[in-house]
């Protein structure tokens, strides 16, 4: 089959690789109909996530048609499904708590050692996202092997296009969980850093959850405009002092909740960011954290900080004093996708959530390298890229 493979920093290629097969009883094989490039794939593209090997197949947002099933899969050949990016067994303590991304059993034991040293506990597993999260082949390919296919994939009813449901696999539940983690109440002001796909879904989710005011922060005019379409007020951080604007837009109180949908590759030329960027380049496992620092300083006393943005390593100059003195709550984490898919699918069916507004480009799989390059370099116009392997 054809698949998008990683070969090094800024080097992804479409190669011919062997078709996947059923290995374990709960496996299914999917024929991929649509797969997206995720903002977090750019961390792999930029080489800031360790644990990648040459030839690894990328892609963790995908959907397709069931082609083959193992004896313990609950899926049936021919069903159309969206697959959560988190590979979760459904039976461990964490899965039972609906903390699916913390599943104990998805990450193969040999691949658990590195993150166990790094984080104190082994990471959960994901598709196409380095050997730290299991070393599984991803879905930017013609076919993919889906482990635990009886708990993850959600069957899509007829009458919904791929574009309407594809993002159930990652960015839609990620944006939703980001808003949920911000603990939004009806009179709240929520500020969202980053109007990439996750940030925009967080804006939309915060609106649905009843926030009084959502303020979206970015520097790409088109992305800010997309946020404004959902009723958000906007701040362009290239033109405006974010901290001052937030104070003025909240009557001197500060936002009740803040969401960092930027993550470790924050752009911009704030001094702390430049220092962080240098450290990241010399490879000491450091993250860039300007957006997160700014969010923590901006949030009101006793406010909530939600971190859906991906961080991988260490961050220094952490505003711990502000955190403690202001009495903040911090919630974060990889998305517990399986917890949200059913509810979000119903909201899509009711027309409550629009997930198609984001897609700017649909490309055949063969053009995936162009998709990666433009999604990173032309963020204003290339808001979301969908690849079509078939």
């Amino acid at each position: 089959m054809r698949a998008l493979t990683w070969h090094g920093i800024n080097d992804v290629r479409v190669d011919t690789v062997p078709d996947p097969e059923i290995i374990n009883p709960r496996d299914a094989i999917l024929r991929i109909t649509s797969t997206a490039i995720c903002g977090s794939d750019l961390h792999l593209y930029d080489g800031v996530i360790p644990g990648m090997k040459q030839g690894d197949v990328l892609g963790h947002e995908f959907m397709g048609i069931v082609e083959e099933v193992g004896p313990n899969s609950s899926l049936e050949v021919g069903q159309r499904v969206v697959v959560p990016f988190t590979i979760s067994c459904g039976h461990c303590f964490f899965c039972q708590q609906q903390q699916f991304s913390a599943c104990d059993n998805g990450n193969p034991v040999e691949n658990q050692d590195a993150s166990e040293k790094l984080y104190g506990h082994a990471m959960g597993a994901a598709f196409g996202y380095s050997h730290l999260t299991g070393g599984y082949a991803g879905g930017q390919a013609e076919y993919v092997r889906v482990p635990f296919s009886d708990v993850g994939p959600i069957v899509i009813p007829d009458g919904l296009d791929d574009e309407q449901v594809l993002f159930l696999s990652d960015i839609l539940p990620t944006g939703w969980m980001a808003a949920e983690n911000a603990g939004i109440g009806p009179d709240d002001t929520v500020a969202v850093w980053g109007c990439g796909p996750v940030g925009l879904f967080a804006v939309q989710s915060a609106m649905i959850m009843g926030a009084a005011q959502v303020i979206a922060i970015d520097h790409h005019p088109h992305r800010l405009e997309l946020a404004a379409r959902f009723g958000a007020r906007t701040i362009n951080f290239e033109q405006t002092h974010v901290d001052e604007a937030l104070m003025e837009m909240t009557g001197g109180l500060g936002p009740d909740a803040v969401i960092d949908a930027v993550g470790m590759e924050a752009h911009g030329f704030a001094l702390d960011n430049v220092v962080d960027a240098v450290k990241q380049k010399v490879g000491v496992g450091a993250d860039r954290g300007h957006a997160l620092r700014q969010a923590i300083l901006a949030v009101r006393k006793g406010g909530r900080v939600s971190v859906p943005g991906v961080y991988g390593g260490m961050l220094d100059k952490w505003p711990l004093g502000a955190m403690m003195e202001k009495g903040l709550e911090l919630r974060s984490g990889q998305t517990h996708v399986q917890r949200y898919t059913r509810d979000l699918l119903e909201r899509i069916q009711r027309g409550e959530i629009d997930s198609t507004f984001l897609i700017s480009h649909c490309l055949p799989l063969e053009e995936a390298p162009t998709g990666y390059k433009n999604f990173r370099d032309k963020q204003n116009e290339w808001t979301k890229v969908v690849l079509r392997p078939h």
């Binding site: 062997p18 996947p20 097969e21 290995i23 374990n24 009883p25 709960r26 313990n72 590979i87 067994c89 459904g90 039976h91 461990c92 303590f93 039972q96 104990d104 059993n105 998805g106 990450n107 193969p108 034991v109 040999e110 691949n111 658990q112 050692d113 597993a125 050997h131 299991g134 070393g135 599984y136 082949a137 092997r145 482990p147 635990f148």
Partner: protein
């Protein structure tokens, strides 16, 4: 085997000095979301051990409570040793040690205890060993000592996967 405490409540395998009675101890605890009885019964049927212990080549019973274990060692070599069960407490623990004639001196215990709430069962393995001298010693040293805890850790995690998920996770995409 010695799992007595000294001045704190930490298990012997977590102590900075992990040697006692001439043994080196390795081990690990995992919490498995299954009933205690089920886990004990699976482990008690020793033939099952090779389903999650990847290094076991063969288990041959030489008596009701005695078995010869053939274990794969690095560089295509094999190590054999014989053990006997010294104590079994139903649904609670299994304790074994090497027979006097065995070329490797080892002893171990696996215990099964209820986890708090509905978290299932805490399974703990404590394995003590003394590598023999000579060529065999070097092979065993490689087998056990390169990273003594890794093997125990991996095997218990595979046991957990098999018991909870019904299969052992792998990123492998192709049979054979």
């Amino acid at each position: 085997m010695s799992t007595d405490q000294t001045s704190d409540s930490a298990p012997l395998r977590a102590r900075k000095d992990d040697k006692a009675d001439g043994f080196t101890y390795v081990g690990r605890s995992v919490t498995i979301n299954r009933p205690r009885h089920e886990l004990f019964a699976f482990w008690r049927d020793f033939q099952n051990l090779s389903t999650f212990m990847e290094n076991i080549e063969a288990i041959e019973f030489t008596g009701p409570d005695r078995a010869v274990w053939t274990v794969r060692a690095p560089a295509g070599t094999e190590v054999q040793f014989e053990t006997e069960i010294v104590d079994i407490v139903d649904d609670t623990s299994i304790t074994w040690r090497s027979t006097p004639d065995s070329p490797i001196k080892t002893e171990g215990r696996v215990t099964f205890a209820d986890a708090p709430g509905n978290r299932g069962t805490i399974v703990t393995a404590d394995i003590g060993y003394t590598p023999p001298a000579g060529d065999l010693g070097r092979v065993v040293a490689k087998l056990f000592m390169a990273e003594p805890n890794i093997q125990a850790r991996h095997e218990l995690k595979r046991f957990k996967m098999l018991m909870e998920a019904g299969e052992i996770a792998t990123p492998i995409n192709h049979r054979n």
